[in-house]
């Protein structure tokens, strides 16, 4: 097909569009009156909910940390800090994501805006990285002085094996949850869910575009 034909066909398509499309007047009125729900990103309500749950969880951890400090249970205190810090960072990333979503410049150059949108999606990976970091502390929060002096040696063998495994896994995941690994099987197994699927779609799409 020559260039002339291409343009001619496009003009014919333009005529077809003219026949088919008239903007619905009622819809136009509803939009201008603000009656249509803003639906640009369906993730946002989920993120607001997660943010509220995250903040409540941080409050609970703060209370647990204060109690642990007051009763001088340093094992519990260390675990609360180890769990609380990654959760705090995750909540902050969530908040930043929400700010990015609301500040997306839809009238900006297409490439720039799409990169911005991709950045929003991929920042979710950082949330996962942070949350994995807390896992070793879930195997230590119940330690106590009494346990240290009374528990049998085999308890500590099992305990140390579990904690070491969780610490190595958390470190490995922190280092390896990266865009470059998004096609690997373990990555897809971890990120198997609605929101995570969207991240993968965004990454795959960006590679195609």
């Amino acid at each position: 097909m020559s260039e002339f034909d291409l343009h001619a066909a496009w003009k014919a398509l333009d005529e077809k569009v003219k026949e088919q499309g008239t903007i619905n007047n009622a819809l136009l009125q509803e939009i201008s009156k603000g009656k249509v729900q803003f639906a640009m990103d369906r993730l946002t309500p989920v993120k607001w909910f997660t943010l509220v749950v995250g903040i409540l969880w941080l409050v609970a951890l703060f209370i647990a940390g204060t109690v642990a400090w007051n009763i001088q249970n340093w094992y519990l205190f260390a675990a609360v800090v180890g769990i609380g810090v990654p959760n705090l960072v995750a909540v902050i990333i969530y908040l930043v994501q929400l700010i990015w979503i609301y500040n997306t410049n839809w009238q900006g150059p297409v490439l720039e805006t799409q990169q911005q949108l991709l950045q929003i999606r991929t920042s979710t990976l950082w949330i996962a990285k942070m949350l994995f970091l807390q896992t070793p502390f879930w195997s230590t929060f119940y330690w106590s002085e009494t346990m240290l002096s009374n528990a049998p040696w085999y308890f500590w063998v099992v305990q140390m094996a579990v904690t070491a495994f969780l610490a190595i896994a958390a470190g490995w995941l922190f280092a390896n949850i990266r865009i470059e690994n998004c096609q690997k099987r373990w990555f897809k197994m971890i990120f198997n869910g609605n929101e995570w699927d969207r991240v993968q779609e965004a990454l795959e799409w960006n590679q195609k575009a």
Partner: protein
């Protein structure tokens, strides 16, 4: 916002949509597969146009501004719906070129087969926008636009030929 500016905004909004509705239909049509999706996408573009009106920068042509919004919303839509499955053969695709010539149908199908950003480039090129304006809309360098237009045109022509051959064998 008091009533007077709102009425003025409403009027401007209507004028923009009256003037550029074909642009919206064409862009939305290239990124959706069904009539329902096209209507939904046009609605999302319209909402975004309404929300962006106060931030319109007059240094850009109105059409440049509108193309940017329409393409950004449409590409984002295409990304979100990239894994969408259509229920039956009859449902996909409800084409813009329904009952049109085979050449026109082939063109539409070939454009749909392109990557989303390539689709945006060829759409602007076929709308006869100067390459400098295409570069401004997409945020690319002029040389990059020029190279990509050549490559996409060649790809499009191959795809159209394939489509036409397929149709002639049916």
């Amino acid at each position: 916002m008091s009533t007077a500016p709102l009425i003025e905004k409403e009027q401007q909004f209507r004028e923009i949509l009256d003037q550029y509705q074909r642009l919206l239909y064409k862009v939305a049509g290239m990124y959706t597969g069904t009539l329902q999706d096209r209507e939904d996408l046009i609605q999302e573009i319209m909402i975004q146009v309404w929300l962006s009106m106060e931030r319109y920068d007059p240094q850009y042509a109105r059409s440049t501004w509108l193309y940017r919004i329409a393409l950004n919303v449409s590409i984002s839509w295409a990304r979100k719906h990239s894994n969408q499955q259509y229920i039956s053969e009859n449902e996909f695709p409800e084409r813009l070129t329904e009952n049109a010539s085979p050449q026109l149908e082939a063109l539409e199908q070939a454009i749909r087969a392109l990557a989303p950003m390539d689709r945006a480039i060829i759409l602007l090129y076929l709308d006869e926008l100067p390459q400098a304006e295409i570069a401004q809309i997409l945020g690319m360098s002029l040389s990059n636009v020029s190279t990509r237009v050549h490559r996409i045109k060649a790809q499009l022509e191959t795809l159209i030929q394939k489509q036409l051959q397929k149709k002639s064998h049916e």
